[in-house]
């Protein structure tokens, strides 16, 4: 079976979810939509992998879930960041920035001088 998550997202899906929820509670579909727009449709194939990630974050108590009416008046499961989740988001985001900066710096670096 092909991996449901594109390689680029492996390990960063959690970060994306936390970021998506940082503007307020949202249901899974809304999170998927946000990721679609923000990442130029990185999840194009395999939106399903979003849900285990949501449940895992809920288990870690970084996000919480409640059922509530959606915009079209259907019952939807809304996720919201907890205080711990917000703290986590900051740590993960900082890590990513440091990592990306280092990689970009490396990509722009000249050849090794003897």
């Amino acid at each position: 079976m092909a991996p449901p998550t594109p390689d680029i997202l492996r390990g960063t899906l959690d970060l994306l979810i936390l970021k998506a929820l940082s503007w307020g509670p949202a249901h899974g579909y809304a999170v998927a939509r946000w990721i679609q727009q923000a990442t130029d449709d990185a999840l194009a194939v395999g939106e399903g992998s979003l849900y285990p990630a949501l449940h895992r974050l809920e288990e870690r108590e970084w996000i919480t879930a409640t059922w509530g009416p959606s915009e079209n008046n259907r019952q939807a499961k809304y996720y919201a960041l907890t205080r711990r989740g917000r703290a986590r988001l900051k740590i993960e985001a900082d890590n990513w920035r440091r990592y990306a900066t280092a990689i970009f710096a490396a990509l722009d670096a000249p050849a090794l001088q003897e």
Binding site: G28, G46, G48, Y51, H55, T66, R74
Partner: protein, 879 residues
């Protein structure tokens, strides 16, 4: 866990449905959006599914995660409720300090007694012996045709060692008391001679230097010794330079080559270990020395060998030796006893008996607390009914009540452990009986686990009845009936039944204690055959070159006697090889000359003691016939003997033996006297046939001397030491003991068991009495209105008193009959501990019901008095 999540479950769905709904919502939203973009409906659905990717795997992952969370949450919820229950229970207990105090004291006593006895049982009976492969170790004994077990002789030991198929290793040792010189004052030490690889067999390691090795047993190399750790600490102050030092043991110089590890010890404690000297009798081929039995032999059975197989193998070796050495080994064989049984065999039954007894005490305590809890019924019923009305389920209430019981039980266990700790410390300090391994008794992990296990079991035991009672059928009516505080008739009946059980248990305990007390009285009434007051004994061992020959030894002993006799107040001085109540002494071959030889399966042996002329007078034994020994019965005179009455019964058919000739180990002697039986091992064991011979005609070097005085003999202790030292400064005076202590010592074990059981029975009786009081007191409260009406209608206070007391007596009568029946049924467990009385001892069996009846009458009298003082006007007011 945030507070809201506990309620989430109330509204949340089942994890599977939950996940399905969530995923369906996603697909629907996506499909809807595609349709809005103009994609045809059926194609939109397919596109949405494709975008979603794999469906089953994420779904299963989500379900698994959710279920895991559910379980965790349920656990947290359970723990939260448990904490609430515990806190609540604690508050309830604090609100009723009287109840809590009585219940806790009862439980602490019951549980503490159990923990204490269990810690003894654990250390003495259950813990393996501190040896390598302890369960596979057996003691081998020579078995005479009449079933008497003996030690082994060196050649028999070597034969067993060479021919065995059941053991993979066979070793031997032999103990003795020796004088040690060259390390401060002359000192008596307990020495053990060991075979070549005994330390290896038992896994005893040296802490310093080396152990004893195979080469040490060879003649010329045996001058080495290994010290016991404790002895090294006491005698040498733990000095490491002790290695290489030479001391003299039993006159022979030996070099100290090692110190055994702390706690490493043989079956009996010893101070010094030396190699057994392998002379020419340590050979499987020789006939010489086969009947000189002095070795304790221990074998380790091969893996998986059962006792029966070991015994079979030993019998095979026995019969081989019977044919190979007919002259010495005819009719003899060998058998094996597990080493654990050798060590603790004779304390197992009494200790288990005590454990059973404390179990009964705990049951009484349990019934008592159950009764107390039931008595709180009226007080609690309103509260519980309210809680129930507010929506608490029956299971929830049951759980809460049981939690209260467990909180009570756990608190009881903590207090009980403190009691057990104090009790075992006291036991160790007092050493009230020579119980093997009692020095290992501690409140250890196993005891703590046992304590909490019985506490939980007890809590459920006393908690379950009241819990069901509370939450049962009576509940609904409770709210209505609270003004009267009435409980169901069933509750009253249950409480009465509990009291009957308590009384029955107390009866069993009291009967057991009564039987033991009666036995102990019988034991103390046994005539020891000697006068215990105003006499002292001590031990002195004449060792070394000076005493190699008999003549100087005899002269020295008579010098002792002269010197001691000259001390103020001394009336008699004697010496013997064995004191009363200190064992039977040497066993020698025996025959009555002129009598037909006894059949071969009779052990033709007799206990023998060498005594100086004044010895029997010094201990105060009664001469029945003939004469005492005199100074004239010396080496040059004809050989003579005095026999005891048991010997007359056994070997002379009760006829006057004076003038008859007997043969002891080949020496022909004329019987000149008969002495009344003197106790040898304990009052409970019959006196064995014994013969006394003059010390001058059979000179031994390990002496017990007896000094009888006209005043208090204890003032003579230092004078005695001084006199002996004046004659020979190298002699050690040991074990100075008043003769009375010999009797006391022989009664230590039965006294210990009896006092413990009596204490337990006393606790049981007190608890049962409290139980009767509780039930009657409660009944008076319940029936207060009825009693008031009776009084108003003209009943006399005496009638009311009689009514209440007689009801208590009926309960106790039922309890007593049940208890006596149970006591008889359990009789075989105590039978072995009885002496001089029948199991159905009429004194005990009539005293116990009287005691119980008295206690029931006493316990019901106070509530009955209260009943007579009730105001008849109450009957009108509450109508």
């Amino acid at each position: 866990m945030p507070r809201w999540s506990r309620f989430r479950r109330l509204f949340g769905r089942e994890p599977k449905a939950d996940v399905d709904a969530e995923l369906a919502f996603h697909l629907e939203m996506r499909t809807g959006e595609l349709i809005d973009e103009g994609v045809p409906a059926e194609r939109a659905r397919a596109l949405a599914l494709r975008r979603f990717g794999d469906y089953d795997s994420p779904r299963q992952q989500c379900v698994a995660i959710s279920e895991r969370r559910e379980r965790r949450m349920a656990r947290i919820e359970y723990l939260t409720e448990l904490r609430q229950d515990v806190v609540y229970a604690w508050r309830m207990l604090r609100r009723t300090p009287g109840f809590t105090l009585v219940a806790l004291t009862t439980l602490a006593l019951g549980i503490g007694a159990n923990s204490a006895i269990f810690s003894v049982v654990q250390a003495v009976l259950l813990a393996p012996l501190p040896y390598r492969d302890a369960p596979r170790l057996y003691r081998v004994t020579t078995l005479y045709p009449d079933g008497t077990p003996y030690s082994l002789s060196p050649p028999d030991f070597m034969s067993v060692r060479e021919q065995t198929r059941a053991f993979d290793q066979v070793e031997a040792f032999s103990g003795g008391v020796y004088t040690m010189l060259g390390a401060g004052e002359p000192r008596e030490v307990r020495g053990i001679g060991v075979s070549d690889r005994l330390f290896d067999l038992l896994g005893l390691q040296p802490a310093l230097g080396r152990g004893l090795l195979p080469g040490d047993n060879q003649p010329g190399h045996d001058g080495v010794a290994v010290l016991d750790y404790g002895f090294w600490q006491r005698q040498f102050g733990g000095d490491h330079h002790v290695l290489g030092r030479t001391v003299r043991i039993a006159g022979t110089p030996v070099e100290i080559v090692g110190v055994l590890a702390r706690g490493a010890r043989m079956l009996d404690a010893a101070d010094v270990y030396t190699p057994l000297l392998y002379n020419d009798t340590f050979s499987a081929a020789t006939a010489k020395g086969r009947r000189g039995e002095f070795l304790t032999v221990i074998g380790r059975a091969r893996q998986g060998m059962a006792l029966a197989e070991v015994d079979n193998d030993l019998r095979r070796i026995g019969s081989q030796l019977q044919s190979a050495f007919r002259a010495t080994n005819d009719t003899l064989t060998f058998n094996a006893t597990s080493l654990t049984d050798v060590v603790v065999g004779d304390v197992r039954r009494p200790l288990l008996l005590l454990l059973g007894a404390v179990g009964f005490v705990l049951l009484v305590a349990c019934a008592n607390v159950a009764n107390l809890l039931l008595a709180r019924a009226s007080a609690r019923q309103t509260e519980l009914a309210v809680r129930s009305a507010l929506g608490a389920g029956r299971v929830r209430l049951l759980r809460q009540l049981l939690t209260e019981a467990v909180v009570l039980g756990t608190a009881g266990a903590v207090l009980g452990l403190a009691i057990a700790f104090a009790a075992t410390r006291a036991l160790l300090a007092a050493q009230p009986a020579d119980i093997p391994r009692v020095e290992d008794v501690t409140v250890n992990g196993a005891v703590v686990i046992f304590t909490f296990a019985i506490a939980i079991a007890t809590s459920l035991g006393f908690g379950i009845l009241p819990a069901f009672q509370f939450t049962g059928a009576g509940m609904q009516s409770a709210l209505r009936e609270t003004t009267r505080g009435a409980t169901s008739v069933g509750g009253q009946r249950m409480r009465s039944a509990l009291v009957v059980v308590e009384i029955a248990l107390a009866v069993v305990l009291l009967t057991g204690a009564g039987l033991l007390v009666r036995s102990l009285i019988q034991l103390t009434r046994v005539d020891p055959g000697f006068r215990t007051e105003q006499a002292l004994s001590f031990r002195v061992v004449l060792q070394g070159e000076k005493y190699k020959a008999d003549e100087p030894t005899r002269i020295r002993v008579s010098e002792f006697e002269q010197r001691l006799r000259a001390l103020p107040g001394v009336t008699n001085v004697g010496a013997t090889s064995v004191l009363p109540l200190s064992g039977r002494g040497a066993m020698v071959g025996f025959a009555v000359e002129g009598a037909p030889p006894p059949p071969p399966n009779v052990n033709a042996e007799i206990a023998l003691a060498s005594t100086t002329p004044d010895y029997l007078r010094a201990i105060g034994a009664t001469l029945m016939l003939g004469r005492q020994f005199s100074g004239a019965d010396d080496t040059a005179a004809p050989r003579v003997a005095i026999v005891n009455e048991a010997a007359v019964r056994r070997w002379f058919a009760g006829e006057n033996p004076i003038g008859r000739r007997i043969n002891t180990n080949g020496v022909s002697r004329e019987v000149v006297g008969v002495v009344a039986d003197v106790l040898q091992r304990s009052a409970a064991e019959p006196v064995a046939p014994m013969v006394f011979v003059p010390f001058a005609q059979r000179t031994i070097r390990s002496l017990r001397m007896v000094v009888r005085t006209s005043a208090d003999p204890s003032t003579l202790t230092s004078a005695i030491r001084a006199e002996i030292r004046a004659l020979d400064a190298e002699l050690a005076v040991a074990d100075i003991t008043p003769m009375g202590q010999l009797v006391a010592r022989s009664l230590r074990r039965p006294r210990f068991y009896t006092s413990l059981l009596t204490v337990f029975a006393g606790v049981g009786l007190v608890l049962a009495t409290i139980g009767v009081f509780g039930v009657m007191n409660y009944a008076v409260t319940q029936r207060g209105r009825e009693i008031s009406i009776r009084l108003a209608l003209g009943a006399l206070p005496g009638d009311v008193l009689r009514m209440i007391v007689s009801r208590a007596l009926v309960l106790s009568a039922i309890g007593v009959s049940v208890g006596l029946g149970a006591a008889i049924a359990l009789g075989r467990f105590i039978q072995g501990q009885l002496f001089g009385i029948a199991l159905l001892d009429p004194v005990t069996f009539s005293a116990v019901p009287l005691v119980l009846a008295a206690s029931a009458a006493f316990a019901s009298f106070v509530p009955a008095r209260r009943a007579t003082k009730l105001d008849p006007a109450n009957a009108l007011r509450e109508g």
